[in-house]
């Protein structure tokens, strides 16, 4: 079927993915001088397992649990009036007040930057964090807004029509990052 996506290549295998998340957690601690007052916020859907994995690594490094929240940015999307029907809405759950906390937004792929824009708007409706940082597993380029990540797992160059698919063991049965492309073969 034309338009369907097919795998092009593996960007990260399970071992590479684990090492990268570990490195990102290290960078997070280094940059912030620890993990105090830190809240990991996963953007639904694949930002949530990334936040959880970073949380596990931070526990190993710092010996304490870091609170994790989940954010559903649907209500803040800038393209709701162009897509029909409405996307399915899931809950936003934050572990507590975010005033004066250091928030680390987590998402699997950074592309146009529009998701992060929506996430920032939503977070600021909950309070006034001390700072917000951004951690992404893959930065694929193609920004449409002036937004950059503070912690990047892997930078790749993806063409238009290509899709970076991130799989996590907890949600998809395996850790892997795949580059997918549109299948335009004739059959």
């Amino acid at each position: 079927m034309p338009g369907e996506l097919k795998p092009k290549k593996t960007v990260l295998n399970p071992l590479q993915m684990r090492r990268i998340v570990r490195r990102m957690a290290g960078e997070l601690v280094e940059r912030n001088g620890g993990a105090d007052d830190l809240i990991l916020i996963g953007i639904r859907t694949r930002g949530v397992p990334l936040a959880e994995r970073l949380g596990e690594e931070l526990k190993v490094l710092e010996g304490r649990e870091v609170p994790i929240g989940t954010l559903d940015i649907t209500l803040y999307r800038d393209d709701l009036s162009t897509i029909a029907p409405q996307p399915v809405l899931k809950e936003t759950t934050l572990p507590g007040p975010i005033d004066d906390q250091l928030l680390v937004l987590c998402d699997d792929v950074l592309y146009t930057g529009r998701t992060v824009r929506a996430a920032l708007n939503e977070l600021l409706d909950y309070g006034r964090p001390r700072a917000v940082q951004l951690a992404v597993l893959v930065d694929r380029g193609g920004r449409e807004l002036p937004i950059e990540a503070n912690f990047i797992g892997k930078t790749v160059t993806a063409e238009l029509g290509e899709l970076v698919e991130v799989r996590f063991e907890s949600t998809d049965g395996e850790d892997r990052v795949m580059m997918m492309e549109v299948d335009d073969s004739d059959d």
Binding site: L75, S81, I83, A84, Q86, L89, N121, E122, D125
Partner: protein, 313 residues
């Protein structure tokens, strides 16, 4: 994640909804309930959309609930009630509607004393139409918020024993609730005076009792209805006191129900007619929660419909 998307332009009644559609509204409302608990209870989702609240019948609760829901979604709400408008100057319903349509609203919330008015508007207007009560026909958002409240307390609707007591015949709330609760697999028992029981109501798949104690025995949920004095052309019962003696819910009679029963009422209540004050304010009562949940359910409906009506607008 695999639930089907909402595709209806209008919400006219529960009768035509599938269980999947009902579940989609309830699940969506679950997420909107959280918005009502935030420090800033407002999301930008319906920015730039206009919703007209067209109320041809008085309403405080439903209209304010829709209004709050619209505000929390950042929609612009416009209130239009029959008194003080052109309707009292002789304009026909369709003319009023066409005039409103010319102002290009995205959604119209309508309440009217005649059944079928929302359907007529839905057929003729581009805007999505939400039925906020049409005569004694349907009141879908009330049934949805009732179901939402039941699900929150009991975790499910299927298999529950639900008793609905009172003025069955004149109640659009009951009609919508019967459709919804039986679709979702609850066991519904209706009870009330014979003069308030519509003929052949059993055909809707419910049991009927004419005795309150029998009806609430073993109930998981008791839904009390307001005696709608204004809708009965002649008195269907001798006096409010006699009604209370026969069908009023008191703490004593409540002992027949399950220990963890919840008491519901769509409001406004006639204390001392269909429900005793200590029951209405008691620990089993979820009446005010229904009001709180009503906002989340209406936000969900506005959200879902505004997406579906985009395609053709």
């Amino acid at each position: 994640m695999t639930s089907d998307p909402w595709t209806r332009k209008d919400l006219l009644g529960i009768a035509e909804l599938s269980t999947k559609e009902i579940e989609l509204v309830l699940d969506t409302a679950e997420s909107f309930r959280e918005v009502s608990e935030r420090p800033i209870k407002k999301v930008p989702t319906l920015r730039g959309k206009t919703v007209v609240n067209l109320f041809f019948e008085p309403s405080t609760r439903t209209r304010s609930s829709f209004e709050i829901a619209e505000k929390r979604l950042s929609a612009d709400g416009l209130n239009f009630s029959s008194s003080g408008s052109a309707i009292s100057k002789g304009e026909t319903l369709l003319d009023t509607a066409l005039n409103l349509q010319a102002m290009a609203p995205h959604l119209i919330v309508v309440r009217h004393s005649h059944p079928g008015v929302p359907h007529m508007l839905a057929e003729r207007l581009e805007a999505g139409v939400i039925n906020a009560g049409d005569g004694a026909h349907e009141h879908p958002t009330q049934a949805l918020l009732d179901a939402f409240t039941i699900r929150q307390h009991k975790g499910r609707i299927e298999g529950l024993k639900i008793s609905i007591i009172g003025d069955i015949e004149k109640s659009r709330v009951v009609r919508s609730n019967i459709h919804l609760l039986s679709k979702m697999g609850a066991e519904v028992t209706l009870a009330g005076p014979r003069t308030m029981m519509p003929a052949a109501v059993e055909k809707m798949g419910v049991s009927v009792a004419y005795d309150l104690d029998e009806a609430i025995s073993g109930a998981d949920v008791i839904m009390m209805l307001r005696v709608q004095l204004e809708r009965h052309s002649r008195m269907a019962f001798p006096s409010a006191k006699e009604y209370f003696n026969l069908f009023g819910l008191t703490r004593d009679r409540l002992k027949k129900a399950k220990r963890d029963v919840i008491i519901m009422h769509p409001g406004p209540m006639n204390r001392g007619v269909e429900i005793a004050s200590d029951v209405a304010d008691g620990r089993d009562s979820v009446i005010l929660e229904q009001v709180f949940n009503g906002v989340a359910v209406r936000m969900a409906v506005l959200y879902l419909l505004s997406g579906a009506s985009q395609g053709e607008a």
